[in-house]
Amino acid sequence: MNKVFYHALKFREDLCIGCSHCMNVCPTEAVRVWHGKAQLHANRCIDCGECYRVCPVGAITVEQDDFDNIYHYTTRIALLPSVFTGQFPASIQPSEIRQALFELGFTHVVEVEEGVEFLSEQILKYISEHSDRKPLISSFCPAIVRLIQVKFPTLVDHIIRLKAPVDVTALHTINSIKEKGFPSEQTGLFYITPCAAKIAAVREPVGEQQSLITGVINMNYLYNRVWKIISKQKRQGNRPEPCALTTKSLCWSLTHGESDHVKIGKSLAIDEINNVIEFLEKLENDEIKGIDFLELRACDESCAGGILCPGNRFLTASKMREAVLRQESLSPSERVNGMLFTPEQTAFLQQHVHLGAIHPRSIMKLDDNVAEAMVKMKRIYELRRLLPQVDCGICGAPTCSALSEDVVQGQADIRQCIFVQRIMEQNEKLDTAESVRIMREIWSNSKLDKNSLKEGTKF
């Protein structure tokens, strides 16, 4: 049986109005419309969240853990990414945010980027040990790792097999909390996530058996809860506090966060999923040469542009960069140079920082068998001649080529194409009643009834 991969984005049929906006933006063509509702192909979805951004009615949700789950544990650790702090005005001190998290019930707050200094050393080491495989691609963004698995299977071997910062920090945190005598079975690690892909990465990690993270909390939800607490408090002075992270760690999750520091040969940073796809296409053809390291992020402005970040991505990134400048203006004695790991801690992390094999899971292949795939490909080319190549989406598939593939795979009918219907009607191969029935099947009755109130048009 084919395995169905986990994805964190869920489509709510009760809210979906069948507008097809999500279908048109999906970079892996994972969405179709049927019976007037968007349907998600689980194995094509990479949890990038482009659909979530464009849904006009909030019908796409992100599966997350109930906040009260934290109370199942006596030691409740919040893994706090620096983009969370970046959501708040600069006048709000990191200590106020931490305080609010304690009030909400966490017993410890750990910065996700604590592991970055260690990890960046490991990345440099990894690159120098794998100089035969260029360019190496960062494993930071889970949506990118999944994109490469499904769409660029020949590039899978270029992904750096090292854990992402959050997993390194989780590993370190669990280890040090155990050393301090907290029982590990009563310790819960909760990651505050800016995106859906990180949720998928926790639920179904790539290259490892199981994540150490206990649960995932939606950043948007937590922002509202923290903001409610902070807004009630009186502001006292706003002299910037020294930050607990080094400047490198602070900006690691922003665009250029990695590439600015991976100084072996030529590094390049690319953000936004369509930009990444365009680049990987060329890279796969070997059109691009001479690059040693690639930082690829699915969101515009990287994690500051995560779908669960409530703030504006440009303002968040600029606030985080200002925090770096403030940090750099402090005298060296005032500056906190991040948490340095002891030699024992470093040795422990070095043993566990590597990822296992990352396997391709191509969505491109038409069939496992080449001969069968050939037969299907021939049919696809034949069908494409019948289709208008306008990619209107009225058939319920995002493009003419997607419809032809669906037909060949037995998942659609060529008569779903409105142009094919017209041609068949002219040739008296199809009557109007039948073509209307087909349209109703794709778009539901309400969109084809003259007097019905179209969903989403109430005022």
């Binding site: 299977p153 053809n285 040469k289 080449v370 001969a371 795939a373 696809i380």
Partner: protein, 144 residues
């Protein structure tokens, strides 16, 4: 299955479009990743050669169950000494072409390394014909 593409000399922005299309087809056929990579690298080099040196050319791709056969024909200056052109670093590319990142003199040797069978023939002043064949599975020992 046959696919035919035409290539315009001097249009570097277009170089790579045939390779992309062939790559997509091979992915759909579930051909092994390493074979796809070799084929696309060899084809891309050959495609760029037409763009960089010739006036125009055609590419005919035939995909069979066990192999891909690519025939590139161009109208152009031709190659006077194919043996020399195969040497690593040998290049006749103009400084402008090199400036764009092409013409490093690795093209033909790269093509040779990435194809199972490569045949090049050329008539000076008329054009060049390149034939690339790659097998989807390693050939049986008796054929090698």
């Amino acid at each position: 299955m046959f696919f035919e593409y035409s290539i315009e000399g001097g249009n570097f922005a277009q170089a790579g479009s045939t390779s992309s299309q062939v790559k997509k087809n091979l992915k759909q056929l579930n051909v092994d990743g390493s074979v796809i990579k070799r084929t696309v690298v060899a084809l891309y080099e050959a495609e760029v050669n037409i763009v960089a040196h010739a006036f125009r050319g055609t590419i005919i791709v035939e995909i069979m169950e066990d192999k891909i056969h690519i025939l590139l024909n161009d109208e152009g200056p031709g190659i006077p000494d194919i043996g020399k052109a195969m040497e690593i670093g040998f290049s006749t590319a103009s400084p402008e072409v090199r400036e764009m990142g092409f013409g490093a003199g690795m093209g033909l040797s790269n093509m040779k390394n990435n194809s199972d069978e490569l045949h090049i023939s050329s008539k000076v002043g008329q054009g060049t014909r390149v034939e690339i064949t790659n097998y989807f599975q390693a050939k049986p020992v008796s054929l090698q």
